[in-house]
Amino acid sequence: MRIEKDHRRFREIVKGRIREDLRRFLTRGELFGREGSSVISIPVRGIDLPTFRYGENGDAGVGAGRAATGDPVDARGEGIGPGGTEPGRHILEVDVSLDELADILGEELRLPRIQPKGRHSLTTQKDRYSGARQAGPESLRHFKRTFRRALRRQIIMGVYDPDRPRVVFERRDKIYRSWKTVRKPQSNAVIIYMMDVSGSMGDEQKELVRIEAFWIDAWLRRNYEGVESRYIVHDVRAAEVDRHTFFHLREDGGTKISSAFRCAQGLLDLRYAADEWNIYLFHFSDGDNSSESDNRECCRLLREQLLPRINLFGYCQVASAYGSGSFINVLNEHFQADPAVITTRVNGKDDIYDSIRGFFSPGR
């Protein structure tokens, strides 16, 4: 259809606008209110064509109905704010799928596609019922279409009586569902998020982690067929939690990062064999580890237990009210030469952009 061209062009423009504003979107937590949905509404600026129009003091009109004076009448739910000089109404909400968003992210940050580790040449087979044919088992009979064909045949033959509507199938009316077997290469990934929930990690820090985790999720989901996410929180002890708890749990107490590493190791041992999974570990902390000896323990665990089986260990140090710790320096010192360990600092929302780029630009 002709409209498809214009529609495609419109979507291109929208994507272009999102790309331009990506840095801004990257810092906005409220975009992702509806978790679990594959489509997000994104407010896009300045996409309509400007014309001369009336401003703020023109916000008036005539309505009809029972409203008493003083009643609000804008039950349209659009939340029209004052016009004036604010960019408010200049904004168009556009639905964008997560995949598209991830593509934009990839293009804008110039992220290379991730090459899944070569060992997983597993393919899955799936039957898809997509067609129809004239023969098949009765259990797959397409009742609606069979009925329609029978009805049509009877009308054409002139034997259909509207007063006594009785439709009888014949052999030649029957339509059966048919399937195709689709083979798909399968590459799975698991992301293990670890977060320090010691007293120094406040709500602000958690918001940063949440936004960052959203984009990590989006990008990895774009690159793998199946992605599982696991969440570990720790202070001096670590435990696996669900997503909600992960972002909302508030603990007091010290920090022992090795506990999280050990917990992750346990999870991998139990469930995620290295030759079947692409494994991603991300750790968020303010970097204030309790002791020098624990730092050493962390490095040992990482080097001996974790790194041999994972694709990437991303460490993201978040600045907290208590300043920033030194764990990032320890990692940098010990793993400088290792491409699988990447460290970034996020002091505020503006750093998320660079942090994401840092994690994924090696393309692992």
């Binding site: 309509d48 014309t51 009109g61 109905g65 409203a67 004076t69 003083g70 009448v73 004052p82 200049h90």
Partner: protein
Amino acid sequence: MAHTLPAELADQAKRIADLAREEGLEFFDTVFELVDFDQMTQIAAYGGFPQRYPHWRFGMEYERLRKQHTYGLSRIYEMVINNDPCYAYLLADNALVDQKTVIAHVYGHGDFFRNNVWFARTNRKMMDEMANHATRVRRYIDRYGFEEVERFIDLALSVEDLIDPHSVLIRRGDDDQPRTPDDPRVIEHELVRYPAKRYMERFINPPDALEAQRRRLRESHAREKTIEPARPVRDVLLYLIHHAPLEDWQADILAMIREEAYYYAPQAQTKIMNEGWASYWHSTLMTRYCLRDDELITYAEHHAGTMATSPGRLNPYKLGLELFRDIEERWDLGRHGREYEELQDVEARRNWNRDRKRPERVRGKESAGREKIFQVRRIYNDVTFIDEFLTPEFAARQGLYHYRYDPSSGRMTAVTRDFDRIKQQLLFSLGNLGRPYIYVVDGNYANRGELYLAHHHSGVDLQIRYATETLRNIQRIWGRPVHLQARINQENVRFTCDGRQSQHQTVTDDMPRPAHVM
């Protein structure tokens, strides 16, 4: 793409057409096409025409319409195109009763298109014209590149509404002809000379007074020759076409956009009347002739749905229909004219001619009310329609109120049911199709080839952000710097865009004055 009507619907269409003609409607031959929902959305996105030039805004409209439908917010039942023959689209999966209603409604529109005076000058072969425009734009795209052409169309659409909708019916001076030729005879002709007997001539038309007058006229002619334009111009689009330094293809695109804007303008000018008239007729034809017993409930439900009002939004279907009915009743009962208007007693007004039996309306033509509404549909547009026929009784009966933005609550709030405020507000929002009045007041501002526009303030300021951006687009068309004078917060402000930056400053006396002052 579309399918012609199945026999059953075609029969119905013919029957309804005959009934409508009998009731006095006159319409072009109407071609109905049956389309599915997606085709309908596509056609609607293209403003009713299957062939439009390629542009993303149609894609945007398509997405908006489709989304609205997915969320169950609205549904397009009907679409009619003012063309000869008239084209109308029916949704394929509608029930027969809906199809009949829509067909009747369409004939109402067809009659309105054909007879309303504001449509008199519209191109009745617009279907072909739009397709021609599409072809021409495609040719330009092939020659100059997609992005180049798209960029220019974006600019052109920014000034799309800067036209003079009344100019189709009025001749605004003769702008095309050279003004005031250098001929002393012209001045002699314009000279004011009082008739007098010869011997009195010297006293009644003293020679030195005549000489002074001649001098004044010569000066004003000289001035007129240097100012451009001679008088403020509302058709900014036309002014740009004539005077902006455009490539031929650019001028052609501007001209196409202008032509389409003029084509659509009467529909915007008569939205309430047009929908009201069509609703009046679908309601009359359906309830009087076409409904089967078993269709009544469905019809009533869908009719009520179309007429539904929601707070803060005036339904043009409802308002138009009720006004036409009100006019018909008033003229049937003789509730008009001086004697009735001057009657102060509410009770007497209410009972005016109540006792008089309304003329039997077997055939509508014969009642005074019918005759009146046929006349109204011929010579009014929304502004004059509301101005003339909205009465305090009607406003009260319809529960009209005036609302405005309340800064304290951040919401639209009903303010008053005062009739004058309501009417004033309605007229304001209908005037110039609810858009600001913008004029070209100088085409050679300060003798620097700069364009000077002015907003004729009628109570409401311009939206500054949009104005700045629109101005930037106009500058790209004009080439030289462009100014816009507008009143913002009681102050005259001059917005300027020179292509690199936009700025604004309060208008002061030491600034050069444009040729005309708004």
